[in-house]
Each structure stands twice: as C-alpha cells, then as structure tokens.
C-alpha cells in the first residue's frame, strides 16, 4: 500500500485537500499521512525566561494543533474509511513536508491552496510553490 502525505492547517482549503485525498485514497488504496507544521525556526532570538518555558509551550502547541487542526481531518479520513497516520511537527512548512514525505516514502503530496496572502507569497513563495519546485514526487495543489 502506497503512502501519501497531506499537508493541513485549519483552513477551508485544507478541508478540501483532505476530502480530495480521501477520495483518491479510496480508489488507489493509499494510506494517508496527515501532517500539520507549526511555524518555527531554530534561529530566532529568545529571552532566557522564554527558553525556560519553551518545552511546556511546545507541548501546548502540539496538543492544540492535534485537537484543533488534526482532529477534524482525522474525522474526514475515518468517514472515508481510509488508513491514516498523523504527524504534528515544528518547522518550516515546505521543508518539513518534504522531510516527512521522504521519511515515510510517500509517492504523492497533496496540499490546499489558500491564496490569501498575496504579498507574503510574492516575497517568500508559497508553501505550494516551494513544494512544487523541490519535491521529488508529484504534488497536487487543491484549489
């Protein structure tokens, strides 16, 4: 059974991407790995007291993401009866999605297109763009 990676956040587009993925997974007998990336960089500057609380903050962020972002997507997978796995990780969205797809041997990456941050995308490139440019497996961007 092949594995596909679906990058999700708590947007409408993510829901559409998950639904699309479940639909294809049913037909192709794919296993879905739901991935949510919490934006984070190891190169930011923090104060000592922020560092002291960082571990607890991280746990909170992971729990909140699992509850608010992943749970609704899991529901979509379960409704469709598709095998699934969930990963929440900190990092840069595009890099982390690529890392995870490589680790899990995914044959396909599916993400939604939010398209709501035109300026930022123009400057930094959107997650979907970066994936399309760097991934070694096909990438589907669900509008």
């Amino acid at each position: 059974m092949d594995t596909i990676v679906v990058g999700v956040d708590n947007s409408e587009a993510s829901t559409r991407a998950a639904e699309f993925a479940v639909d294809r997974a049913q037909k192709n007998h794919w296993k879905i790995v739901l991935v949510h990336v919490i934006p984070w960089t190891p190169f930011s500057f923090q104060t000592a007291s922020e560092n002291e609380h960082r571990h607890r903050e991280r746990q909170r962020e992971l729990e909140a993401a699992t509850e608010q972002v992943i749970a609704p997507m899991v529901e979509i997978c379960e409704r469709g009866g598709v095998p699934h796995e969930e990963i929440v990780r900190h990092g840069k969205a595009s890099e982390t999605l690529l890392d995870i797809s490589a680790e899990s041997g995914a044959v396909h990456i599916i993400v939604g297109r939010t398209g709501d941050s035109g300026l930022r995308d123009a400057v930094f490139g959107s997650v979907a763009n970066r994936l399309a440019q760097h991934a070694s497996v096909p990438v589907t961007v669900v509008p």
């Binding site: 919490i38 984070w40 190891p42 190169f43 930011s44 500057f45 923090q46 104060t47 000592a48 007291s49 922020e50 560092n51 002291e52 609380h53 960082r54 571990h55 607890r56 991280r58 746990q59 962020e61 992971l62 990780r89 900190h90 990092g91 595009s94 890099e95 982390t96 690529l98 890392d99 490589a102 760097h134």
Partner: protein, 535 residues
C-alpha cells in the same frame, strides 16, 4: 550507559589523567614563573587590610573588606595589580583547556555544526535550539566589556594587551564548555515543565554524587548568594550607571537638565526593565533581543569600515599587538602590564568561569549535555576573540589610545573618539548601542538573580517578586551617583561567583572529562550521526 562501558572508558584514562595533571601543573607553574620573572621589579604585596575614612559606614567597611579580599593581589612596579581572582580564573581556564584536550580548537568545527542544526533531530523541533541558547547567553555578555573594557585595556596595557586578551578568551572557551555542559547535565525539570539549571544545581547534585552532599549544598548556596549580589550590582547598577553616563554625554553633558537629574534616566530604565520582568511585557524583551544582535552587527560593521578605510595600517596594528605582547614597548607597564590587563579584561567581558552563562544555556533540551558544552565554547570566541579584537584594532588603527588623556577618558569615551575620527556621526549610534547592550544585560542578570533567589527560597513566588522590586530599586540607584563602594562591592560579588563555581569544576573534573570523551568517542565511531541536510 552500562556499567561496563563506564569502567572501560575510565580505566585507560587513569594513567593518562595523572600524566595530564602533571603537564597542567608544569604549564601553570611556568605561567607564574613567567609572570613574576618578566615583571618589572619591584613587586610589592600591599596590606590586605583596607583603610577607611573616619566617617565610613558599616556598609563601606563590609564592602571594603570583601572588595579588598576578592580583588587583592601583589602590585607590580606599583602600577597595576596582579589580581588573584584573575589568576584564579586563568589557572582554571588553562587547566580545563589541557584537561579536555584542547576542546576549544578540536571541537570548534563541531560546535559550528551543532549551532547550524546539523545534529538536531527533526523530531525534537520546536525545542530551544543550540543557536537560541547561545544567542541568549551571548546577548547577556556582549556589552560594555566589549566597548569600554577593551579601551581601558589598551589605554593601560598598550596594544599588546589585545594579544593577551585573545589568549585569555581562547582559554576561556574550555572553561565555558565545562560549566555549560554541567548546567545541562544537572538541570532540574519542574512539575510544570519549566527548567532551571546552572551552577546551583550542579554544585548541589553533582558534588553530592561524589559523596560530599554538605559541601555541595554549601557551595551552591554560596554561589546563589554571590549571583544575587552580582545581578544587583554589576549586572544592573553598573549597567544603568554607564548607560546613563552615555546618554548624558550625548545630550548636553553634566550641566544639562538630564545631567543634573540622572534619576530620570534611572526611572526610565527601571520602568522598561520592570515592564519586562514584572509586567511580563515580552514585547519589550523581544524587541531588545532582536535589536541587540542587530546592534552587534552594526557595531562590527562600523569597525570594518574603520579598518577597511585604513587597510594599509592593519598589518602594522597587528605588529603593534604582537610587539607589545612580548616586548612591552610603548606600553606603560611592559609585558606584564599588557598580560595582566588583557587577561583581566577578557575575564570581565566573557564571564567564563563565573557560571552565569551556564544558567542561560541549561534551557536547551538535548540528549547529549556535551553538545551544549561545545556550543557554549563559541561564546568567548564571539565575545572576546571577534568583538573585542575588532574594537581593539579600531582603537589601535585610529591611534586614539595615544591621546595623552586616554587613561583619563575611560572606556566608552575612548572607543567613541576612535570611531569619531573616521565616522563623525558614530558616537551617537554607539550611545544607542551602549544603552541597548546595557538594557539586555540588565534583563539577563535579572533572570540570573531571580533563578538564584528561586534556588535559595525554594521557588517561592513571593521571594522572586521581592527580588524583582529590589532589583529595580537598584536600577534607579545605579543611575544616580558613582556610589563607589556599592559598585566595587557588586563587582566583587560577580567575581566571587567564580570561587564556588571553580571549586566545583575542579571537584567534578572527572565527570566533565568523561562526558566529553565519551561523546567524542561516539561521534568518531559514527554512533552519533548528522541528520540529513535540509533542502
């Protein structure tokens, strides 16, 4: 780690440990012989009994005694004092450099790789990274020492002081590695998921593991008391005092309205620091944390402009540094003066051996405490070898130190003059930099002092809040007057931290060496691997 592996890694070292100790002893003895042989005669041993004015208060007397003892040392040629506490720090730095097999050189590339995240497990993403721990600690140490301290060193010891400052920074790297590794290894995780670390914890717990629980507790408590004193003084009063002086010098001098009412600046500083440490207004701290690296880069940029503008003179400046370091020509006090002043300024600037940075480094979450040791060794490198050397070259190239009034001008003013001779507008920027560096140092030390208070009073929130209020009170006091005995007292408290801390490090030398050599062995065997390069 199985018991067998421990025994295996320990047994072959026993012989070599004795040999290493012998080598260290010889090197340290040679160091002292050189100091005393090169010293211009006569060396005098002043009386350690301080003299007091008839109207001296009890505080003045207590402070005078403590300062006199901490900063006691024989006087060479009657001009400069070979302070015992500096010798104490440098001896430890030499000891651990040899004891850890020149970890400062051999571990340098690995330290850079760790900071770059090459060995960071992606599954641990979101934790305090090596880079963050280093940046936090560096923002606490980069400050006046880099701007003012270097100028003082060159004014007194001549260009040669720079060479010895670099040597001391280089040796301090090993000391920093040792104390920060222990900070991570013996840190405490509280029930709410926060972490505390630093010398208090390794002195208490690691020394207890050696079978000396009473000694460990005593050293830890002594350390905590000194750290509170150092935080209130050198980490706070001294900073607000110098920052205020800088602002006053740029807005009209001592006769101006602000110059006569420096308490206004003190209140402003206290309000800003209080907003962060009591009000929890993170944004202010966030802004400083972001501005400090920016200012550091701006500062280095300005140094580079001065150096590139006088590029032809750079080799001559290096020549003067090397010349002064070994022949002492042109320096007021000869080789010994350059050496002592250079070593002293390096110790003031990078805090290696004082144990303060260990508190900041211990938040990092790593399975390998040794990694944080490697990373922390970069701190004296950045602080002393890079930033201080740049300052020194700027001062030497612009010949600002040859100004007859150099030693009276004091630190910041001399550096300021050096820049002004090439970039007339820079003193204003420098004043802003000094204020921001002072502010970030105050924030860092308020944290250190709070952790020490927390340690002494069992994380009692009331005690920590009382400490914060007292801390802010001293921020205002620092801006008001020179308060000589208070500043001296707080300075000596900072250096007193090195007494319990280094006793602890010597006691724990085997633990420290085992941790690093075990880690290195696994790194060499490939057991510790790099994670794949990022895209």
């Amino acid at each position: 780690m199985g018991e067998n592996t421990m025994r295996d890694s320990e047994t072959p070292q026993m012989g070599s440990a004795t040999k290493t100790l012998g080598i260290i002893g010889a090197v340290v003895a040679a160091f002292y012989v050189v100091i005393f042989a090169l010293s211009p005669k006569p060396i005098t041993f002043p009386s350690p009994v301080p003299e007091f004015a008839p109207d001296a208060t009890l505080f003045d007397k207590v402070s005078g005694w403590i300062t006199g003892l901490v900063f006691y040392g024989p006087s060479a040629n009657g001009e400069y004092t070979i302070r015992i506490v500096v010798i104490w720090l440098i001896t430890a730095a030499i000891f651990f450099t040899i004891w850890l097999g020149f970890i400062n050189v051999r571990g340098f590339k690995h330290a850079i790789d760790l900071v770059r995240g090459k060995y960071s497990d992606p599954n641990d993403a979101g934790e305090v990274s090596h880079f963050q721990a280093l940046a936090t600690a560096v923002s606490g140490t980069v400050g006046l020492g880099n701007i003012a301290g270097v100028a003082i060193a060159i004014a007194i010891g001549g260009p040669g002081a720079t060479f010895w400052m670099i040597v001391a920074g280089f040796l301090g790297m090993s000391l920093k590695a040792a104390e920060c590794m222990l900070g991570v290894k013996y840190r405490q995780e509280h029930a709410d998921g926060t972490v505390s670390g630093g010398p208090m914890y390794y002195l208490r717990d690691a020394v207890k593991d050696l079978g000396k629980p009473g000694l460990g507790k005593g050293l830890a408590a002594f350390f905590a008391v000194c750290m509170i004193g150092g935080a209130v003084g050198g980490g706070n009063m001294f900073q607000s005092n110098q920052a205020t002086a800088q602002i006053v010098s740029q807005v009209g001098g001592e006769e101006s309205f602000l110059g006569r009412n420096t308490w206004i600046m003190g209140l402003l500083f206290a309000a800003a620091v209080g907003a962060v440490i009591i009000g929890g207004i993170k944004s202010i701290a966030k802004v400083t944390e972001k501005i400090v690296p920016f200012m550091a880069i701006l500062y280095l940029g300005a140094c580079l402009i001065v150096l590139l503008g006088n590029f032809g003179e750079v080799p001559a400046a290096f020549g003067a540094i090397l010349d002064g370091a070994f022949t002492g020509e042109g320096a007021a006090g000869g080789v010994i003066g350059a050496l002592i002043v250079g070593f002293q300024r390096a110790a003031f600037s990078n805090e290696a051996g004082l144990g303060s940075a260990s508190v900041a480094h211990s938040a990092v979450r790593t399975k390998e405490p040794a990694t944080e040791g490697f990373v922390a060794s970069l701190e004296p490198f950045i602080d002393t070898i890079v930033i201080c050397t740049m300052t020194a070259l700027t001062i030497i190239i612009t010949k600002a130190y040859l100004d007859p009034a150099a030693s009276e001008l004091g630190g910041v003013a001399l550096t300021s003059n050096a820049f002004a001779s090439v970039l007339p507008w820079f003193p204003k920027v420098l004043a802003v930099a000094v204020v921001l560096f002072a502010f970030s140092t105050m924030i860092s030390w308020s944290y250190y002092g709070m952790k020490a208070t927390g340690y002494l009073f069992g994380d009692n929130p009331l005690a920590e809040n009382v400490f914060k209020v007292i801390f802010l009170g001293f921020t205002v006091l620092g801006s008001i007057a020179s308060l000589g005995s208070v500043i001296d007292f707080s300075d000596s408290m900072i250096f007193m931290m090195s007494i319990p801390n280094l006793i602890g490090l010597y006691l724990l030398r085997n633990v420290i060496r085992r941790e690093f050599s075990h880690y290195r062995a696994r790194l060499a065997s490939g057991e510790i691997k790099e994670f794949a390069d990022r895209h």
